[in-house]
């Protein structure tokens, strides 16, 4: 898939052959200052085509500034950035044809209907009258807004507005999509709905740069996460890699008797990277491990071989909150407190 796109791009854009075509977004040493405030302080970022990059950081870390530079809304002071091989400054106009942006707050016109909003965006992408209308109807259908299509947006719920705004970003079938905090301010149910929509979208191969302060959101949607703080990327990797970087992975299990606990402890000792602890009632064991899900499977097999009766077993990992705290020394503005506690396996 990636290779096919690469050839297509090279044929249609002879000027951009120099760029690394397999990377949809490349930013090198971006610096942006507002007076004495440094919003971006040498930010580097590479997002391969067809992948989802989560930009994770607290308020004021530089997430929105990064998105604005990459979507040509803001000119950076130093460094270089390309999107689909096009320079964000020199090729800004051509670049805008290939990207879709959905901002922090739903940038939809309250007085227009859902249909009118999308139709207008289509016309401004120069899709033509017929195509704009057809595309608007198609997107309204896809985002479950058909019933509300001909009502002014003023009466829409927060979740509907966000979906409409996201639909607006997709009108021209962009190759690269930028979503700046797509679920900020939504209630938990609308947030889950938005996640489903986004997951479905990226399953279709769209490259996505997503900013969020919700640790759970990055974990759920992104292939890779760049943790940013004070305008720089301070850590990069998959959610698992980041968690591993912090360490603290452990197997937790509950057994039915103290005797089973002893057997289990003996069976699992080869997997432990530190001392196994058994809790007061003697039924619960905590085994520090490393190696992720494989260790869990291995552990279950060993217990099974010893015929230990396991009531519950799970692999506990540090949350991205822990990651952030370890990396930056400060919490991610308290928004991640509802983050899930770890991955459970039965």
């Amino acid at each position: 898939m990636g290779a096919v796109r690469e050839i297509h791009l090279k044929l249609s854009d002879p000027g951009s052959i120099m760029a690394r075509m397999a990377d949809a977004i490349v930013a090198e040493g971006l610096v942006k200052r507002y007076g004495s405030v440094v919003a971006l302080d040498g930010l580097d970022l590479v997002v391969p085509e067809g992948t989802v990059m989560g930009l994770l950081g607290p308020n004021g870390a530089g997430k929105t500034t990064t998105v604005r530079v990459l979507t040509t809304l803001l000119e950076h002071d130093e460094g270089k950035a390309t999107v689909t091989g096009l320079d964000v400054v020199a090729d800004a106009k051509e670049l805008r044809r290939r990207i879709g942006l959905s901002g922090q707050y739903a940038a939809v016109d309250e007085n227009l209907t859902g249909f009118e909003n999308l139709d207008m965006v289509g016309r401004l992408y120069h899709l033509g009258k017929q195509n704009s209308r057809a595309r608007a109807r198609e997107l309204l259908e896809r985002f479950d807004l058909v019933e509300a299509a001909d009502r002014p947006v003023k009466g829409y719920s927060g979740g509907m507005r966000r979906r409409l705004d996201l639909a607006g970003a997709l009108v021209a079938k962009p190759r690269v999509l930028f979503l700046d905090e797509p679920t900020t301010g939504l209630d938990p149910r609308s947030r889950l709905g938005m996640w489903d929509v986004i997951s479905e979208l990226v399953a279709g191969g769209t490259t996505l740069l997503l900013t969020t302060q919700y640790l759970e959101e990055a974990d759920r949607l992104a292939d890779k996460i760049a943790v940013i703080d004070h305008g720089r990327v301070i850590a990069l990797g998959t959610a698992d890699e980041l968690k591993a970087q912090v360490g603290g992975e452990r197997l937790e299990l509950t057994v039915s008797s103290a005797q089973d606990a002893e057997t289990a402890k003996a069976a699992l000792t080869p997997l432990a990277i530190a001392e196994i602890t058994v809790d007061d009632r003697g039924h619960r064991l905590t085994v520090p491990v490393s190696g992720g899900a494989d260790v869990l499977v291995d552990g279950v097999r060993r217990l099974d071989a010893e015929s230990v009766k396991v009531l519950d077993i799970g692999l506990r990992r540090p949350t991205l909150d822990d990651v952030f705290l370890t990396l930056t020394g400060h919490a991610a503005s308290g928004t991640g407190t509802e983050d899930k506690q770890g991955e459970q396996a039965e």
Binding site: T72, L73, K93, G103, E116, L124, H126, G168
Partner: protein, 267 residues
């Protein structure tokens, strides 16, 4: 498609969007016509009796002044509208689209012009009711209305710059009132400029609002033929002077407004 026709096409899409707003939120047009109607009534019946214009009924004199004031106020909608669009993130969306950089401004100023046309119609009817009459040919009268609208259109572009700079409709309204009250009152709009004291008189004579008011008065035939020729050149040639002001405004404001739009981002 050339860049120019594309800008016009994109501008039309944006203008249509703004006009839908006038349709869906009629309060806007209701209040922007109610206040000039109130001004007509106040000046005609409250102040009118105390302001004497030699050889002319005050209501005849008044209407061109109120028209000028009203269209200038109408032009401020441009700035307030853009400030609101920035605040709501709509400008961010527009700026991320491959549309002409001037299109949002062209669309905005055009729809505000349409708004001013409606307001002028309502006011003309009010004027006719209180006793205002046009004494010139229909063509001259049309030219008078066209000149008022053209002037307001040029002012719109200036308001666009301010709106894009302050980025908040509330701040914009306060800022624009400070500029617009002296401009529309230290002029020949409600009184004769010749009665003003020294420096204010000079200001009034060269005030663009005075030029367009005098031009409209002339084209509507609301003047006293016996009145002495004004001493200042702009008021001796009000139509030419108005056209000069329009040209100067557009030449300065259009490029500046587009420049401001290019770097306008919310917050």
């Amino acid at each position: 498609m050339s860049a120019f026709t594309q800008a016009l096409g994109d501008g039309a899409v944006v203008a249509k969007r703004n006009l839908i707003k006038i349709k869906r939120v009629p309060d806007l047009i209701v209040f922007s016509t109610l206040s000039p109607i109130m001004f007509v009534l106040l000046f005609a019946y409250v102040f009118g009796g105390s302001i004497a214009i030699p050889g002319l009924d005050y209501r005849e004199f008044l209407m061109a002044g109120i028209f000028a004031q009203t269209v200038v106020f109408g032009a401020t909608i441009t700035g307030a509208g853009l400030a609101e669009d920035i605040q709501k993130g709509v400008i961010d969306r527009f700026r991320s689209l491959p549309m002409a950089r001037s299109a949002v401004l062209i669309g905005r100023t055009t729809s505000d012009l349409a708004n001013n046309v409606i307001v002028i119609l309502v006011m003309s009817v009010t004027g006719l009711i209180v006793g205002w009459r046009i004494h010139s040919s229909p063509l001259e009268a049309l030219a008078g209305f066209a000149l008022l609208l053209l002037f307001a259109y040029a002012v719109s572009w200036g308001m666009a710059i301010v709106g894009l700079m302050v980025r908040s409709p509330e701040v914009f309204n306060n800022a624009s009132f400070i500029a617009i009250f002296p401009l529309t009152f230290i002029a020949n709009t409600f009184v004769q400029e010749s009665n003003l004291p020294g420096p204010l008189k000079t200001f009034a004579e060269w005030n663009p609002v005075s030029a367009v008011t005098a031009a409209a008065r002339q084209l509507f035939g609301n003047t006293n033929p016996e009145a002495p020729t004004p001493s200042a050149w702009p008021l001796q040639h009000p139509v030419v002077m108005t056209l000069i002001w329009v040209a100067v405004f557009l030449l300065i404001f259009v490029p500046l407004a587009i420049r401001q739009y290019r770097k306008a981002v919310s917050r």
